[in-house]
Symmetry: C2
Subunit: 667 residues, 2 copies
């Protein structure tokens, strides 16, 4: 079908070359081509196209499809010798987008943990088989009653020096492992996080590797119960599972012993730096920033294209119904989130770079920046997940009623991304961890120390009033964010201090300042992202036309954010009512500036229809035809007349309906 004329018009009117912006996003023209090449391998693959649409799969079919696709894509990756992490992810996003992959955790957590925490001997034993899928593993940490606070985990590994074995046990219902992916049906090995007991002493959480299902028939080994945790609002292709141990004995070398060790006689040798074990989690948190940006940008493609072809409500009586995107209220739903998506895409790239840089240092034993990375990753993970989860849902509703059907594609994106708010560290706990780091840094700055890197703004001289005016300079905007972040960190820090002086234990004082601490952490993350965005758009290698539109987006990101948190910027008089007016008016002006480029800005994310899987977000804009076709695939349309017509409706209408109570079915 021909491209909808509204979309043609939008694309023709853009002030910049979409391809050039795409290149900025994906690290150059070559990478863009490579990404498309990898996508197309999947799109053109006969096997990958042989499954029925996901929106009609039963729970078991969802799982089975994911297993098959996963195995197949891993084979492709091997056959084509695709070794780069990013390239692998491009191939996979083309094939199992928003479905989740039961074997994903095997690659993202099981193997990396062995690599990070295993001795050379353990690596030799497990790594190669794991990479070749001779064994399949997961990472079993979360318990039914214990999540983010990992010191509270209850599973025990008690060393028995007599037999040189650990006894693994789930002492309570709340200690049952719950949630790990691949645990329900897929894996036969686990990295298990458990409290290590030796000689009657608890040495805290340690990682063990052990087998849970038979290599012969896949049944769970004696003393072990494992299964799926049941249906969820999404991620139903993944067998998140439970795991319960009844005093199961495993050999001493099950303890991953690169750092912490246990000698034959039960003597415990602690790691030099206990926080080192959390490296994998920091990595995943860094990845989440980019992943959230990706989900948000996919929902934006859908909602923006649909808003350009969707026409509703005549503005002038008798006139044509305008494109929905021409309503200021619709622009307010789309454009601020568009600016957030770009902000987080750039932040995600920077976070990963920082992770790899600092991680290389850690491998060399340089741990100076570990706390800074931990704090930043925690805060940004929470910040990007929160904005994206709320944002994707807002974009669903920006599509009106059609957003609610799976035909729109947005519910699937949302159910896939919203767990990032709770997994790998619950958001509020993450904000509080970030805030704790900020309060410490604030105390250092207050005591006269010069801070480096992205904390250096805590040393800025205190100013009473913003000089922000109609010219809307980025310097003034960044200053306003940093000023307000400093103020809010100070508010929280001073409050804690005064409560402690008043006799409260520090922990209780912190709790009584919880709300202020979260506010401070968000303000810090917000300021960090604004500044980062402003620095990215200034890069001299960016094409001038592209740079212009990015500057507009960056300004919108900054002014809209102030608008949303206006009270915080006004409370100490840093911004006044007149400046607040400027901020509101400029927001609307920036909407108008972005308007002609809106479709091009989402085209630049470069998500093909096969990834979006959306009737509303199609590149060609033929949304109504697609919705009608989608309807025809409904399971309820397989028969023209449902069985329930004969069993229920017909007798109801004829007044002859009888009700027999069958015994309740277990499932």
């Amino acid at each position: 079908m021909a491209v909808n004329p509204d979309l043609q018009k939008e694309r023709a009117a853009a002030t910049f070359d979409t391809e050039k912006l795409t290149a900025v996003l994906y690290g150059g023209k070559k990478m863009v081509q490579r990404r498309r090449y990898l996508h197309n391998i999947i799109f053109e693959d006969k096997y990958m196209n042989s499954f029925k649409p996901w929106w009609n799969r039963s729970r078991i079919e969802q799982y089975e499809t994911a297993i098959k696709k996963g195995a197949y894509m891993n084979k492709l990756i091997k056959d084509l010798n695709i070794t780069d992490f990013l390239e692998q992810s491009y191939l996979k996003e083309a094939g199992s987008n928003h479905e989740g992959q039961p074997m994903g955790v095997h690659q993202s957590m099981f193997i990396p943990t062995i690599e990070k925490l295993g001795t050379n001997e353990q690596k030799a034993k497990y790594l190669e088989p794991a990479k070749q899928f001779k064994i399949i593993g997961t990472y079993a940490q979360t318990e039914i009653g214990h999540g983010t606070y990992i010191r509270g985990l209850e599973t025990t590994a008690t060393y028995d020096p007599q037999t040189e074995e650990f006894v693994i046990n789930s002492p309570t219902v709340s200690s049952i492992k719950y949630w790990p992916a691949a645990l329900g049906s897929t894996c036969n090995h686990v990295v298990l996080m458990a409290q290590l007991y030796s000689r009657g002493v608890c040495h805290g959480m340690h990682a063990f590797i052990l087998q849970i299902r038979s290599m012969k028939d896949h049944r769970t080994l004696p003393g072990i119960s494992a299964g799926d945790i049941g249906n969820k609002i999404g991620f139903n292709a993944v067998d998140n599972g439970f795991l319960k141990f009844d005093n199961v004995r495993v050999p001493r070398n099950s303890l991953l012993s690169r750092y912490a060790k246990l000698e034959r006689d039960g003597t415990y040798i602690p790691p030099e730096n206990p926080r080192i074990a959390y490296g994998t989690m920091v990595f995943i948190r860094s990845l989440i920033v980019g992943a959230c940006a990706k989900s948000l940008s996919q929902a934006l493609v859908i909602a923006t294209r649909y808003s350009a072809v969707r026409r509703q409500t005549e503005i002038r009586p008798g006139g044509e119904e305008p494109q929905v995107i021409d309503y200021q209220t619709q622009q307010e739903k789309l454009f601020p989130l568009l600016s957030s998506a770009y902000a987080f895409l750039f932040s995600g790239t920077v976070m990963l770079k920082e992770y790899f840089r600092i991680n290389a240092d850690i491998d060399k034993g340089i741990l100076d920046e570990m706390a800074a990375l931990h704090g930043l990753a925690a805060g940004l993970k929470a910040f990007s997940a929160e904005v994206a989860s709320n944002g994707v849902d807002k974009l669903r509703m920006a599509c009106g009623g059609h957003g609610y059907t799976h035909a729109s594609g947005i519910p699937k994106i949302w159910t896939y991304m919203t767990p990032t708010c709770t997994y790998e560290g619950e958001n509020t706990v993450m904000y509080l961890q970030c805030a704790r780091y900020l309060v410490k840094q604030y105390a250092q700055a207050a005591s006269g120390q010069t801070l480096v890197g992205f904390m250096s703004y805590l040393n800025n001289p205190v100013k009473q009033r913003s000089s922000l005016n109609d010219s809307l300079s980025m310097v003034d905007l960044i200053e306003a964010y940093e000023h307000t972040a400093v103020r809010l960190i100070k508010v929280a820090a001073s409050k804690i201090q005064s409560l402690v002086k008043g006799g409260l234990p520090i922990e209780e004082a912190r709790n009584r300042c919880g709300v202020s601490l979260v506010v401070a952490a968000k303000a810090h993350c917000h300021a960090f992202v604004v500044k980062l965005f402003a620095s990215v758009v200034k890069q001299p290698e960016i094409d001038p036309a592209v740079a212009r539109v990015l500057v507009t987006l960056c300004k919108l990101y900054a002014v809209y954010g102030i608008n949303q948190r206006l009270g915080e910027f006004m409370q100490d008089g840093f911004l006044d009512g007149r400046q607040a007016d400027i901020i509101l008016n400029k927001t609307l002006t920036l909407f108008a500036e972005i308007r002609p480029n809106a479709v091009a800005l989402v085209d630049a994310f470069d998500y093909p229809d096969q990834i979006l899987q959306s009737c509303l977000g199609r590149y060609d804009g033929n949304v109504y035809e697609a919705l009608y076709e989608y309807a025809k695939t409904s399971p309820l349309n397989e028969k023209e007349v449902q069985d329930s017509y004969y069993t229920t409706l017909k007798p109801l209408m004829e007044g002859t309906l009888k009700f027999d109570a069958a015994p309740p079915s277990k499932l």
Copy 2:
């Protein structure tokens, strides 16, 4: 199992009698008993308990179960002679809570529309059969390309005086009816909204009644295509459907002709007041306010009880992990929404009363308050739906990771309630309709007219500075809300006026002020709810201990709302920085005041476990046992080893996996 001691302790510590508050919510002790009696009829019914759990039903099973339950409950209602609307809803909420009911629209829209718009002859022909389910109908308005803006609907009903018939047609893909419930498989009749053409003139949208499926075999009649629109994120028990006409002829008396009439020769006689046709929509919008409050309060029961039994992260090293509800950050997630739920429950009751009062007037031909009711219903529908949709999702996340599984019950509540943001009038359009009314009223007030009822605050004398202080009087709080609402209405109205003066057509001027208008409408609704809440808690018949806790909730509702929109209250200097500090500090003080009553406040909503269907929200607090039991019901646990192990995992591990591309399945 025994009640969790944490919950026992919470209940014992409450400062008021839960039963007395429940009586306030449901209109007296007697109604509470009656409500419980009606619930228990369902809970103890053998037939109603004979179905497998909803979380494991396929799409078709969901639909069939809903049809059976619906037919059965309607029979119960008839047999037990339950005639009151509210009593019927209590029975139904016990039996099909959050599942949706395909035949609901038959009773809530199809029958009422015939009652409202049918002639006596039409009523005689259709009403009795409809009430006895001899015919089953739906209300077919929304089209694939047309939603809230009903004047844009494309379906045509063209009168042919030769045969005295209407020719019903769907001229385009975008004109296909899409979304009406019961259309997919259930109904055989529809009330159809279509553009009436006669003698070459379009007379706009009118309601027709016609048959679409055979009374003999349920197949669609010639020229008609109908079916289900496919799977959605929720409401999958309901067969939302599509409907397409290919020049189908129906007799002249298909036009519902109580108000608008068409004579044999094609002469059109318009209704006296064309807005009268929208009565049903206003009724549904009024209902939505209470429905949103209900969903929000159910999610609150779950999240609050779980927060009381869930323990996480020691506050003091080595100490017991505290109840999550003792974290200030958790209180911030729960308590403001708790205050909103009470606010909306009271608002919902008032809205229904107002509807019945004004509707009785309309029936008598008194139309004075129709516009006021329309504006209020539009605004409050949007406001309550927005707060509840975001709120229920926030409460899901307040349950950590467990919120995401259907075991928590919250995803089902959310997918059931979030469509209220778009159906029966998309929220933004509703805010704009409300704002348009406000701007008109503002102009009247500005021209010296004295306004009555809930608009009278527009006549308040303008004050420059709030006298709000540490004593936190409700008078000051209400004044702040009303002052800010007036200011924001004025900002929008003045802006429109100045754009019009500058030469812009009024419609375009309104669009350029869209964001300001929505802000104004929200401010108005917020002020309305605060004032209403404050007046309810002052009712002298409320028990003093209950009144005290309601006053606390009401204050929290007011101060937290200011906190969230602080900039709006500060922008003109009405509140200053010092007062903003008071607001923030009081919020935290109020959290502490509510804390001991939190569990009792959600108990008072009086939702039995059978309605909540939540492992986390159980009255007895035994959440972990329940989660473990839930897990065991997973479809993936029916077999210990999945088929896909043999077809895929085993060969993968053995290195013998082959991939055969089957031809793609259509479904």
